[in-house]
């Protein structure tokens, strides 16, 4: 009887120890992650508030006034757009207020797209307005992009040796509709997630799920590496949106590799 009891206790211990470790790990992991947005906001504050021209404005009440903030937002967005217009490059403007994403060249809107299912970091929408607005007054630069489609789908064609080998160009197959999902990682830790709106086919849903899962795995791996050395993981501000497939493709292909993006919230 005693042996049976001992075996039972051992079994319980065998269960309790790993479960306790798992719970402890979950708590530690979550707490570390929960600290990261506040850290990020502090970083933004340190980087932008000190450089903000509105710092001289000592009256904190003015900085909290809704009319003043509205004007400040407008000014930040215009400042960003003017900086980008002067580059002569193709750039993107994201207007979270009216859910539009426009491609512009030298201040001229050349393509308009309507965003849907827009989700943003809470910091972007409810964080310290002055710090965020100061950050948005400068355009973001694309550091790298991860996508399910090629930026420039260049096909290689070998020149024929003589006229007998020459084959006239055949009509390109425009029926191929590859899924369009991509992530633009910007300087300043902002990530823009673009998913195609059309998700009727099972394969499209699977593709989107795989794409999203891959991103989550990368983030989790990075977070685990930081946590392992007792470091708070990096928090990424994000804007997630759905765009019609054609618009998503046009925007991705139009933007240069280190393209500029301005955000209006």
């Amino acid at each position: 009887m005693e042996n049976e009891n001992n075996a039972g206790t051992n079994r319980k211990v065998i269960f309790i120890i790993p479960i306790s470790i798992i719970i402890l790990f979950i708590v530690y992991y979550t707490v570390m992650l929960m600290i990261s947005p506040a850290r990020k906001l502090d970083d933004i504050r340190n980087e932008f508030i000190s450089k903000s021209p509105d710092k001289e404005n000592s009256d904190q009440r003015i900085l909290m006034d809704s009319a003043y903030l509205k004007l400040l937002k407008e000014k930040s967005f215009l400042q960003s757009r003017i900086v980008m217009a002067e580059t002569d490059s193709i750039y993107l403007t994201i207007n979270l207020a009216d859910s539009s994403a426009n491609i512009e060249i030298s201040g001229v809107v050349v393509h308009k797209a309507k965003m849907s299912d827009v989700k943003t970091s809470r910091i972007l929408t409810s964080g310290n307005e002055n710090a965020i607005l100061s950050m948005l007054a400068k355009p973001f630069v694309i550091d790298y992009a991860r996508s399910t489609i090629k930026k420039e789908p260049v096909m290689i064609k070998m020149a024929p040796k003589d006229t007998s080998e020459y084959k006239p160009d055949i009509m390109p197959d425009t029926s191929i509709t590859e899924p369009v999902n991509y992530i633009l990682e910007m300087n300043g830790g902002l990530r823009i997630y673009v998913y195609q709106k059309e998700n009727d086919k099972f394969s499209e849903r699977i593709n989107q799920l795989k794409f999203d899962l891959n991103d989550r795995l990368n983030d989790t791996w990075a977070a685990l590496k930081s946590i392992a050395v007792f470091k708070v993981p990096e928090y990424h501000l994000f804007i997630k949106m759905k765009l019609p497939r054609s618009d998503a493709k046009i925007i991705y292909r139009a933007l240069p590799r280190n393209g500029l993006i301005a955000v209006f919230k």
Partner: protein, 271 residues
Amino acid sequence: MENEDIKNEGALPDTDKDASGHNTVNSDGNSMSDESSEQKDHRRKPISKIWRAIFVFLCLILITSFLIFFILYGAPVIVELSSKQNHKTENSVELKKDPVYKKQITLLTKDIQRLSIKFNAYTSGQSYIVINTTENRFFLYTNKKLVREGFCSTGSLTMLKTEKGDKFWVFKTPKGKRSIHGKITNPSWNRPDWSFIEEGLPVPPKNSAARYESGVLGDYALSIGDGYLIHGTIYKRFLGMPVTHGCVRLNDEDLEAVYHTLNIGSKVYIF
């Protein structure tokens, strides 16, 4: 009872002993039924072990799945929920009467007006054309209003390589802001080297008459610099597709409209 126990013990020499080392016997001393129940127990033990193993295995799978799901999907949600900052905005009437506030608002409004004027000046009031290379469409604007749109053909994004691999050409339409450099009527095509190499023909010398081909570029051509043209085409079935060597092809009617709308210096926005 003791005698009976002894008898039973003798009859069952291989009887199992319990945990305390005593032989186990039924109270009624029925050794046959005792044997069968023990055999059943023996049979049940491995089955229960299997069930237990399955249960433990399922528990492990469940815990692992929960852990993975929590880390990948649950934790980011919790982080977002916890990251809400309480930055309050006010709409105080008292503040609006404050001269410092009024000054700040006036300054900001002036800044916005100045920036808006600057920004609006970028969009020319003159005619310009926008070319979408992904969808192979064009949009013609006059006085900031869309006056014509339609299909065009742009660069095929093909890289033509010579057999030796020493030369290559990428057929793509340049993106960005360009302008009309020149306008030509009844243009003839001065075929570049690649057009001969692409067809497996020998490349004639520069300025050779073999290089000139008329009637293939339509009635008009508009130069946008670096050898790129907006011109007509004899391959109208390819309009709306990426098939050109970098130039922009339009159908005859659209080309005529574009030719008459755009002037030298008019902007061409390609994306």
